[in-house]
C-alpha cells in the first residue's frame, strides 16, 4: 500500500503552473527524496499534502484515504516541517514541546520532554532561553524533535538540514535512518544537498517546472548512474575487433572507441563486466584494465533536467 499517492495533481497560481499532472507514489517504508530546482514545485507538492494549500485539479491519497475529511484524520499520523520551522518564538523549547503535545493530544510526561530535548541536542544552558534567541540550527533541531512527538507514520520534511552544521546533518541523517528502519516511518524529504539525499533516499522523484520527470528507486538509479564500462586493451590493434565482438554478443549495449578506450554503455554493466572479460579473453584479446565510470546524483539530476528542457 502506498503512503502517499498523487493522481494528476495540478496547481495553478495566477501566472504560473506550479504542478502539472504530477503522479507520484511514495510507498510505505520508503525514504522518498524529492529533487528539484528552486521553484520546481517540491514545496507546493508538500504543502498540498499537508493541507496548507489546495490543488487546482487532480487528487491525492494519504495512507489510503482519498476523501477530504478522512485525509484530515490521516494527518494525525503525519508530521511535517514545511519551509521554515514553525516554532512559538516567545516560548522556551520545553513550552514549545508542551504546546505541540497538547495540539497532538499527547499526554506527555516531563521525563519524555527531557528525553526529547536531549535528543534535539539543545544545550542545558539554552533551556531557559526563549526560542527567538535560538540559532537556525537549534530551531531546526527543535522542530524535528517536535515532529517526532506523535510517533508519526509519515514524515514530510522540506529542506530539514538547512542551517545545520556537518555534525548536525550527520546526526539528523542517522536519526531519520533509524526512524525509517526501526520504526518503519515513511519519509518524504526534499533537500538541495543532493549528496545528503543520496545517503538517505530509497526512492527518488525528480521534479522540474512542475513536472515529475522521473521516479526511480535508489537501486535502479545507481545502475543508471553507471554511465559506462571503460575497457583498455593491451594492443590498440584489437580495438575494432573487440568492439565488434561485444556488439554481436551482448544485446542492449553501445560500444564506442574513444582514444585508447572502448566505452561500453548500457544497463547492468556491473553484471556484464565479467562476461565481457570472458568473451574478450576467449577471442584472445588481452585486457589491460576495466572500470565502471559512474556519475553522481547531482550530475544525473542536471543531465536529466537538461534533457527535459
Amino acid at each position: 500500500m502506498s503512503a502517499i499517492s498523487t493522481f494528476n495533481l495540478c496547481k495553478q497560481y495566477k501566472f504560473v503552473k506550479a504542478l502539472n499532472d504530477v503522479n507520484m507514489t511514495v510507498n510505505k517504508g520508503d525514504i522518498y527524496g524529492l529533487i528539484g530546482r528552486n521553484g520546481a514545485g517540491k514545496t507546493t507538492l508538500m504543502r498540498i499534502i499537508c493541507g496548507l494549500t489546495s490543488q487546482t485539479s487532480g487528487s491525492f491519497s494519504l495512507l489510503g484515504e482519498t476523501e477530504e475529511n478522512r485525509i484530515i484524520d490521516s494527518r494525525a499520523k503525519m508530521s511535517a516541517i514545511i519551509e521554515s520551522p514553525a516554532l512559538y518564538k516567545n516560548f522556551t523549547a520545553r513550552e514549545n514541546l508542551q504546546i505541540m503535545a497538547l495540539l497532538k493530544g499527547i499526554d506527555i510526561k516531563s521525563s519524555k520532554i527531557d528525553e526529547l530535548i536531549e535528543l534535539s541536542g539543545i544545550s542545558k544552558l539554552s533551556l531557559k532561553a526563549k526560542v527567538k534567541n535560538f540559532s537556525l540550527g537549534m530551531c531546526q533541531r527543535l522542530a524535528l524533535v517536535m515532529a517526532f512527538l506523535n510517533n508519526p507514520e509519515i514524515l514530510i520534511l522540506d529542506e530539514p538540514v538547512n542551517g545545520l552544521d556537518p555534525e548536525g546533518i550527520k546526526e539528523i541523517r542517522e536519526l531519520l535512518k533509524q526512524l525509517n528502519q526501526e520504526g518503519g516511518v515513511t519519509i518524504l524529504i526534499s533537500s538541495h544537498i543532493l549528496s545528503e539525499l543520496s545517503h538517505l533516499a530509497t526512492t527518488y522523484g525528480i521534479i522540474d517546472k512542475g513536472l515529475l520527470i522521473e521516479e526511480v528507486s535508489a537501486k535502479n538509479l545507481e545502475e543508471k548512474m553507471k554511465q559506462s564500462l571503460n575497457i583498455v586493451l593491451s594492443s590498440k590493434e584489437d580495438m575494432q575487433k573487440a568492439a565488434e565482438i561485444l556488439s554481436q554478443q551482448f544485446g542492449g549495449i553501445d560500444c564506442k572507441i574513444e582514444g585508447d578506450t572502448i566505452a561500453v554503455k548500457g544497463e547492468n554493466l556491473d553484471e556484464k563486466a565479467s562476461k565481457i572479460n570472458m568473451a574478450l579473453s576467449k577471442a584472445e584479446i588481452m585486457i589491460k584494465g576495466m572500470s565502471v565510470n559512474s556519475t553522481d546524483l547531482e550530475q544525473y539530476f542536471l543531465d536529466k533536467t537538461r534533457e527535459d528542457r
Partner: protein, 257 residues
Amino acid sequence: MINLLKHEFFKFFRSLGFKLLIIIVSGISLFFVGLSLLMLSGIEMPEGYSYDMQGYSAIVNAFGDFSNVSIVIAVIISMIVVAEFQSSTIKNTVMYNQSRLKIYIAKYLLQLVAITIAVTAYLLAYIILFNAYSGWGEVFSFSSLWNNYIKIYLMGMLLCYAISAFINFFAYLTKSTALLIVIIIAITFIFSILYTIQNDLPPLLEGFSKILFSLVVMRYYSDSSIINLVYYFISVVLLFFPFFLGGYMLFNKQEIK
C-alpha cells in the same frame, strides 16, 4: 476540538500578550477615570446639587467610554490571529488533524474568553479606581443588580463579541498588524462621521442611523425603549454573522504560508 482548545488556551495564558492585555486595559481604565474626574472637577454645581458618580454611575460612565475601548480590546485580541499568521505557527494547527472550521471556532472561543477577561478587568479597574476616589456611596443594592449592572455588562459584552468577529474578518483578510490597525482606524473614522451627521442622512438611511445610535448609546440607555433594544440586537447580529461567516470563508480558502 478539546485538544485544540487546550492548545490555544495554554498558549494564550502563558503568553506575554495576555499579561500586556491586562496591563493595557487597566491603564485605559486609569486614563478614563482620570479624565472623568478632571472634567467633573471643572464643573461648578449650583448650591444643593451634586453629581452622583458613585456605584452604578461608575459602571455607566465606564461604558460611556466603552465604545472606543471595546474596539481597542477587540483589535488587541485579534492579534492572536494575526500573530499566528505572522510567525507561521498557524501551519502547525492546520497540518495536524484539524479541520479549518474547528480551528476557526477554537480561536474565536479563545477570543471570547480573552475579551470577557479584558472587559471585566477594565470595568473592575474602572469601578475600583473611580469609587476609591469618589467614595462608594449608597447606590448599590441587590435589587438593582440586574438593571443597573448585569444587563449593562452583558449588553456591553455582547457588543464586544460582535465587534471582535467584525475585526477578526479584517485580521484574516490582512494577516498584518499594521494594515489591520489602519483599516480599523479608517472604518471607525467613517462611522464616527456618519454618527455625527446621522440627522442629516436621507430617510432611506434612517434605519442605519438608528443602528449606529443604538451601538453607541444603547448600552447605557438600555431602559429607554424596547424599540431601541431591538435596534441594539439587530445591530449586534448584523455586526456578528456576516463577518463571522465571512472570516471563516476567507480562512477556509486561504493559502497558509
